[in-house]
Amino acid sequence: MNRYLKIIFVNAKNCLIRIMEFRSEVISWSVFSVFWIFVFLAFVNVIFGQITAISGWTKDQVLVLFTVQELFIGCMWIFILPGVLDFSKSISKGELDFMLLRPINTRFLLTFRRFEFDQYGRIIVTLILLKIFLSNLNISISLLNVVGALLIFVLGMFIFYSLFFLIATLSFWFINLFNLEDLLDSVVNAGRYPSSIYKGGLKIVFGYIIPLAFTATFPTQILLGNENPGIFISAILIAAGMFFVSHLFWNFALKRYSSASS
């Protein structure tokens, strides 16, 4: 366990050193990601110039939901997506073979080998906006609500890590998925709206297969005091189930993998 934690720490440190070396790149990406936050804020404001609510959620509530989603996206881009996207590319580049040879769990290595700390600007701005939008609602938020929301948030990240890792495993069959990032972005962005907008078949897809509610809707509901204790149990079960399925598929893919070299 210590060894694994140490490896995470060393990789994180190296990634931090890297962003210090390429400061202009980091600054431009931070500005870019913050710029997009305000583009979407403008989008929400324009929409609410024409409507009064989305599935019963008022503008102020949607703005809180939106910032929680931005936090989710930011954290996914820092901790999860770089590893998943590199995993997909490592197959086509022939780098996976070398990782399989290393004396450590390969999935762990693929997941935690890279982090993108240049999203820090997005995180800071989003937290400031979240505070502003929460204060607009004039409700009191208890520490318990914050802890509960954080727990669901982290479990949501774990659920989507497993889901995205499963999708990236398809790279064993479809060698070049250069636009995997775009699909993952579309999926995560779909969680920008209250999950109750999805009905019928869409509810099955976005409620059960891709449980979007865990990206922003559930954490926001808990934060705003609309707790449902069942959510926590569901989150744990879904997180465990998703990880199990993604790991099964990973092992299945590995057995059928013909390497680039032999």
């Binding site: 202009s24 790149e25 431009s28 990406w29 500005v31 870019f32 710029f35 997009w36 583009v39 403008a42 989008f43 324009v46 929409i47 110039g49 024409q50 409507i51 009064t52 609510a53 989305i54 599935s55 019963g56 398809l170 790279s171 069959w173 479809f174 060698i175 070049n176 998925l177 250069f178 636009n179 995997l180 775009d182 699909l183 972005d185 579309s186 999926v187 962005n189 779909a190 920008r192 709206y193 209250p194 109750s196 907008i197 999805y198 009905k199 078949g201 869409l202």
Partner: protein, 253 residues
């Protein structure tokens, strides 16, 4: 085209991503409360609008900026400047023609799926005459998008990091171009400013023709504005290319 067909997996992902986006925005409008018409569109008209956005995504989006930036960074643009007698403007366009030829075929599958599930929620108001205008306006919109992307890519002659700047195009299309939201949703004063920008002639203009919101005179006026934007952007490209290659050659010796 061969390259494009080799990346079947990527094409599937692209269709899936588009489907996710269109189903999401449809769900938003169907669950929204408020007036019966939004920005002059009924909800069925709005859903048809986004289905047409799906079609435009295949036809008008170009990623010239990415290819140009890579060629400048790795130096292969030097060969282009020195050896090839074809204008770089058209050379670069040829690189993506394969994608633009094959992607509509894949996109049709996505459109078919979307149309099947949304067929009871759609209303389309377009006359045959206006439909004929769609072909030139989409074509010209695509040229505008390509020219903007190309010019953004040429910034790599002077800047080491340009990926973030390419976001100007995507943000412009999303918010100011009609891709994310019809321009009629904006207050009139803001709308007049947005219609002054080139982005609205890539998505919004063909979308308004598709939605039956423009007269023949307005359409012809819009086409003229598209041509003016193309002329301005080509002039900008020529200026940037001349200055950029001069600076690039002086670094190389």
């Amino acid at each position: 085209m061969q390259n494009t067909l080799a990346y079947r997996g990527a094409m599937i992902l692209w269709v899936l991503g588009n489907l996710v986006s269109v189903f999401t925005i449809t769900a938003v409008w169907l669950s929204s409360s408020g007036q019966n018409t939004l920005g002059g569109y009924t909800r069925p008209q709005l859903i048809a609008y986004y289905l047409f956005v799906l079609i435009l995504n295949w036809l008008v989006i170009w990623h010239a900026a990415h290819y140009v930036k890579e060629e400048i960074k790795d130096g292969s643009i030097g060969q282009t400047v020195l050896t090839k007698p074809i204008s770089y403007f058209f050379q670069n366009m040829a690189k993506e023609l394969g994608w633009h030829t094959v992607s509509p075929l894949a996109g049709m599958i996505g459109l078919g799926i979307a149309f099947f599930f949304l067929r009871t929620h759609i209303q389309i108001n377009i006359s045959l005459e206006n439909a004929l205008f769609l072909i030139p306006t989409i074509f010209l919109g695509g040229i505008i998008c390509y020219a903007i992307s190309l010019c953004l890519g040429l910034l790599a002659f002077w800047l080491t990091e340009t990926d973030a700047l390419h976001g100007i195009l995507w943000a412009g299309l999303f918010l100011a171009g009609g891709q994310g939201i019809p321009l009629s949703f904006f207050p009139v004063e803001v709308r007049h400013v947005l219609e002054f920008l080139p982005f609205s002639y890539i998505y919004s203009f063909p979308l308004e023709i598709f939605s039956g919101r423009l007269t023949a005179v307005e359409i012809i006026s819009g086409i003229i504005k598209q041509l003016i934007w193309i002329a301005l952007l080509v002039l900008l490209y020529k200026f940037m290319w001349k200055k950029g290659t001069k600076a690039y050659q002086s670094y190389g010796g």
